[in-house]
């Protein structure tokens, strides 16, 4: 195997942890999975942990007093501890389990509408996002501002796909109540200066929400150092299962928010006339939570912790640099976003002149190579660059240099298939 400086050692052993990587597709060709920014693959330990829970410890949590119930509760709450450790959260109470990061962001945008006191967003207030957000960090704030009479504003983008900070002092002002931005763009790959923006936001009394859906899988994340007041990520992109996400928040802020979903286990007491509510995290975990999914996520972050996020990050940077080089060698390819690996994450969106992204993805798929084509839930960022759709390859800790070679060869083949000269 080609070795790149910074690559994870023993990559072939790590790959064995991921059963799906042994699969063949498209009539017997090995799977080359380059769609990890969309969803990551799962190591055996995550799957086995879930199976063990389902086959031996399955029970509802908190409410159950029997042996299985105690085991299930312990596994679920241990997962919370593992997540807290993984993201550097000082208190386990700050870790709320949600369905995905989309629910986490909606939890905030909805409770800000009904909050009393400082966190309430109302007429005249401003919510600030950026033009490179995923739809999940745009639409909730559109709904909030439309419904409350607040104003939605956003950072524009520079031509090389970074945040345009030239008007930051206008954008972050005394009316700003919430600044919500992505740490790493899922389309442009850009890594944003979250801390710098958070400091400016805090200076005017705004709260800072960080969409870390692409950051937590790739970077060492410390919620306190990030400057975030709230930070979310999603299990399925973090070698965990679907159906589970995390909202971390400073506990005193979480407890200042009204409930989101009402129901079982988020209450303190209920009468027909009125109810009182538990504190975070339970306040925001109404109903039976995704128990086996949380347990799976616990195993996932533990797996990543064992590899070491510094090592995962170095691997991602090495592979991304190699992929950028490869892409530069293909005639007609334009990469969207920053061109140096050091200032970006592992998702690389690009255009291939003369072939529509769907067709690129289709031809690659016929060679067993899985990439994404479309707007990647970032229509405004595409519109900003005047493109309607793009192709995106995204690597992860299990990606090898030879997979990048196969991808680059696939692009050359695509060019010849569509008879481009």
């Amino acid at each position: 195997m080609t070795q790149l400086p910074g690559m994870l050692p023993d990559l072939d052993i790590i790959r064995k942890d991921f059963p799906i990587l042994a699969r063949s597709v498209a009539g017997g060709q090995p799977l080359v999975y380059l769609d990890s920014a969309n969803t990551s693959q799962k190591p055996q330990v995550v799957i086995d942990t879930m199976v063990d829970h389902l086959e031996r410890h399955n029970a509802n949590i908190a409410r159950a007093m029997h042996t299985l119930g105690a085991e299930s509760t312990e596994a679920f709450e241990a997962a919370r501890d593992k997540v807290a450790t993984f993201i550097g959260a000082p208190e386990r109470e700050g870790v709320v389990f949600t369905k995905n990061i989309t629910e986490a962001l909606n939890l905030l945008s909805n409770t800000f509408a009904w909050a009393e006191g400082d966190l309430r967003v109302g007429p005249g207030d401003e919510v600030l996002i950026t033009e490179m957000e995923h739809h999940s960090n745009i639409v909730p704030w559109q709904l909030l501002t439309e419904r409350t009479g607040a104003t939605l504003r956003w950072f524009g983008l520079t031509d090389d796909g970074r945040l345009d900070l030239s008007n930051i002092d206008d954008l972050i002002n005394e009316r700003t109540k919430v600044v919500s931005l992505t740490w790493v763009s899922n389309m442009l790959g850009t890594v944003n200066p979250v801390r710098e923006i958070a400091d400016k936001a805090h200076a005017v009394g705004a709260v800072v929400v960080v969409d870390a859906a692409q950051a937590v899988p790739q970077l060492p994340v410390d919620v306190i150092a990030s400057g975030a007041d709230f930070l979310g990520f999603t299990g399925h992109k973090t070698v965990g299962p679907t159906g589970i996400g995390v909202l971390w928040g400073r506990p005193e802020l979480l407890n200042a928010l009204p409930p989101f979903h009402g129901g079982g286990e988020m209450i303190e007491t209920v009468t027909m006339e009125r109810s009182t509510y538990a504190k975070a995290p339970h306040r925001f975990e109404a109903g039976t939570p995704p128990i086996v999914e949380a347990v799976g996520l616990g195993a996932a972050v533990e797996y990543l912790g064992h590899l070491g996020m510094d090592a995962v990050h170095a691997h991602e940077q090495a592979v991304t640099a190699y992929a950028l080089e490869g892409l530069a060698s293909v005639k007609g390819v334009t990469v969207l976003g920053p061109l140096d690996a050091a200032s970006r994450g592992g998702a690389i969106s690009f255009e291939l002149d003369g072939v529509h992204p769907h067709d690129v993805a289709q031809v690659l798929d016929s060679r067993g190579i899985a990439i994404r084509a479309g707007h990647h839930c970032a229509k405004p960022a595409h519109a900003r660059f005047g493109v309607q759709a793009s192709s995106r390859m995204s690597s992860y800790l299990y990606t090898t240099p030879s997979e990048i070679d196969a991808f680059v060869e696939g692009l050359e083949y695509t060019r010849s298939y569509f008879k481009l000269s």
Binding site: H358, Q362, G374, H375
Partner: protein, 152 residues
Amino acid sequence: MATELDALYQEIILDHYKNPHHKGLRAPFEAEVHHVNPTCGDEVTLRVHLSDGVVEDVSYDALGCSISQASASVMTDLVIGKPVGQAMDIHEEFLTLMQGKGAVEPDEETLEDGIAFAGVAKFPARVKCALLSWMAWKDATAQALETTGGKV
């Protein structure tokens, strides 16, 4: 596999993609619609001009992949000049072909170049691409019939 790929990207499709028929937006028209494929972002703006119960013209502006572009081109070939009822029947037949998962044998008599899309039916993710302009046409035609009170 190149063979499956070739079944998808038939020469006819690539020809229509490179040289689309009836492309561009023209007047007169009784209805204009804008359809989007939300998952991938493909878009089409499409106008229908009916007269005396006949599809007089279909004009369009589309952004999208080879399959969606070629499909729009073939669609206009098939419906322009046909009585509305007959055009709707052709639409139905194309729909059946696309939803048949590759098991439906297309009838060249009715579908002409449209038979080249038989291979698309085996690629569920691409069926929507092939249907985008047809759905837009059906919608626009329904609107045109409505605004003119069925009198065209």
